[in-house]
């Protein structure tokens, strides 16, 4: 919070500096943060295309972007068909992870006993390469969608607990004291102070959880599935259809960016609505 308050005036200062220069040079400068990364990505694609063509690299090894685009277009219906279970499973895992994670963080915040028993273990667990546990979930839950959702929830749940717990405990002590002096109930202090104070931390955990959930689902689909983009990537690779793999990866990127963007939008919405109350 303090970091944000300190950064804010600097940000304003930077913006006005850009603004004053924009009088001389037209809007180009303001579009810089958009144009620069897009141009870079475009350059990389162009370079890729040129290198592959110039060095006559075979399409099985590395197809040029133009061919990937063609494969994407050709396989779009089947790719979208497989994108549906992947997206739904990821969303399901993300929601479960967020609910469980924030819930457990609240419990840890209010119960010293729970905090002392669970928190150190959670931190240690965070360090374990949990991806290696994916086959266990197949043993336990079979090859159904539940198994993949359970695994994806499992790996995306830790960042939410940890960052939400940190967010809740970082609430300014003086503000909580103010609540106490006003005879506020625990519930009031939580809803009016602790939760909004923790929102940025909770959302940064949720953003990590969103990407982890997709990773979890894809790994699950690699191991055992009859549908989904992970399954389709494996299938294409067994047929040496490298272009299709890249096309599927592109669709995955689009899904990842949209879901991440949705979380970011939700954050903005929630923070703004808190500001208005």
């Amino acid at each position: 919070m303090t970091v944000e308050t300190h950064a804010a005036p600097r940000l304003v200062a930077a913006r006005t500096r850009i603004g004053s220069r924009a009088i001389r040079g037209p809007d180009l400068r303001q579009l810089r943060p958009v144009i620069l990364p897009l141009a870079t990505a475009g350059m990389v694609l162009l370079l890729w295309q040129l290198v592959v063509t110039a060095m006559r690299i075979r399409a099985v090894i590395l197809p040029p972007p133009v061919e990937i685009a063609a494969e994407l277009w050709r396989n779009l219906p089947i790719l979208l068909h497989h994108a549906i279970p992947t997206t739904l499973d990821s969303l399901m895992a993300f929601s479960l992870a967020t609910a469980l994670g924030v819930g457990l963080a609240v419990a840890i915040t209010y119960s010293p006993l729970l905090r002392d028993t669970l928190y150190p273990n959670l931190v240690v667990f965070q360090l374990i390469p949990k991806v290696a546990l994916a086959p266990l979930f197949v043993v336990w839950l079979g090859i159904s969608s539940e198994s993949r959702v359970a695994f994806a929830t499992f790996i995306s749940f830790f960042p939410v607990v940890i960052s939400a717990a940190v967010g809740f405990s970082n609430t300014e002590a003086s503000t909580l004291r103010l609540c106490r002096s006003l005879t506020a109930s625990e519930w009031q202090s939580f809803v009016m102070v602790r939760f909004p104070f923790a929102l940025p931390a909770i959302f940064s955990g949720m953003k990590i959880a969103m990407t982890m959930a997709i990773i979890g689902v894809i790994i699950g689909e690699f191991i055992s599935a009859k549908a989904g983009l992970g399954y389709y990537i494996l299938y294409a690779s067994s047929r040496m259809e490298t272009g299709v793999i890249f096309a599927a990866l592109f669709v995955l990127c689009v899904i990842g960016v949209s879901l991440f963007g949705a979380v970011a939008l939700a954050e903005q919405f929630l923070r703004r609505s808190y500001g208005r109350r």
């Binding site: 919070m1 308050t5 300014e172 003086s174 004291r177 005879t183 009031q188 009016m192 102070v193």
Partner: protein, 276 residues
């Protein structure tokens, strides 16, 4: 009810606070402090940092338990926080996501009083402290002095009987601090409350208060109880007067004296004359 009026509003009797009591690391933060404040009086508790004056204030506010002794406010013993008491802290403790106006209304929300009834009062308070144009600004858009002004409004909006202020202006620069003192005195004329004001600034204490209690580190108790003779309203210029500076000099001496003396000597009974 003139009989009730005679009774002191705040009564602190033989109050002590010992942290980690019973262990070898026990620290006596406040030792056997007694004083009383009549209704409507502005009392400053003056002392060096770490002398336990903030702890004393928090005990009066019901935010800290007393280890020994008894605190009575408005006739009943303190057992916990009360809504008839408003507290201002060292930092403004504004909620960063709320506008100045919503921050002022925060206690009303907590106390579940009707917001619409208090919105005008909140606006008026902001106007009174010169922030009417900043009602919709967020704390990070306000200066330190402005934030403390919002905090004053927040402490006054629900109309507490007793106002406790814990070095509220100590984080501000000297010029802003003078402004805030003047503003506080000004508000005081209008909303007369009983007030306890903790500070380590001698001039601030003398300028603001009807009465100054000097608290020292060893012993962590009150060694001086001085009535400030200046009439109200007090102009800023009284800070230049000879009498004002004599009082300040005397208080400084009392604080320094207790530093040189051994721990455990109780000088509260000695009634010193003003230094000429």
């Amino acid at each position: 009810m003139p009989v009730v009026e005679r009774q002191p509003y705040v009564q602190v009797a033989e109050v002590s606070k010992i942290y980690r009591s019973g262990t070898p690391n026990a620290i006596e933060a406040v030792s056997s402090v007694s004083f009383s404040v009549p209704h409507g009086q502005f009392v400053a508790i003056l002392g060096p940092s770490g002398c336990g004056k903030s702890t004393l204030l928090m005990m009066v506010g019901g935010l800290e338990q007393v280890t020994a002794g008894r605190i009575t406010v408005d006739g009943s013993a303190m057992a916990g926080p009360r809504t008839s008491i408003g507290i201002m802290f060292q930092d403004s403790t504004l909620l960063p996501w709320k506008s100045a106006l919503d921050n002022v209304l925060f206690p009303i929300r907590i106390l579940k009083r009707p917001l619409d009834t208090y919105r005008d009062a909140a606006q008026q308070l902001l106007e009174r402290v010169g922030l009417d144009d900043f009602a919709n600004k967020k704390p990070h858009e306000l200066s330190g002095g402005m934030r403390q002004r919002v905090a004053i409004c927040r402490a006054l909006v629900y109309d507490p009987e007793l106002l406790l202020m814990d070095e509220p202006f100590s984080a501000l620069d000297a010029i802003t601090r003078d402004e805030m003192n003047e503003l506080l005195l000004d508000l005081w004329q209008q909303y007369t409350k009983t007030a306890l004001f903790v500070t380590h600034s001698i001039r601030e204490a003398v300028f603001l208060a009807d009465r100054v209690l000097v608290m020292t580190r060893r012993p962590a108790t009150i060694v001086e109880d001085l009535t400030i003779p200046f009439a109200r309203p007090r102009p800023m210029a009284i800070g230049e007067s000879r009498e004002f500076n004599e009082i300040c000099g005397h208080l400084r001496e009392r604080i320094e004296e207790s530093h040189h003396r051994g721990p455990r000597s109780n000088a509260a009974s000695a009634r010193p004359e003003l230094v000429a």
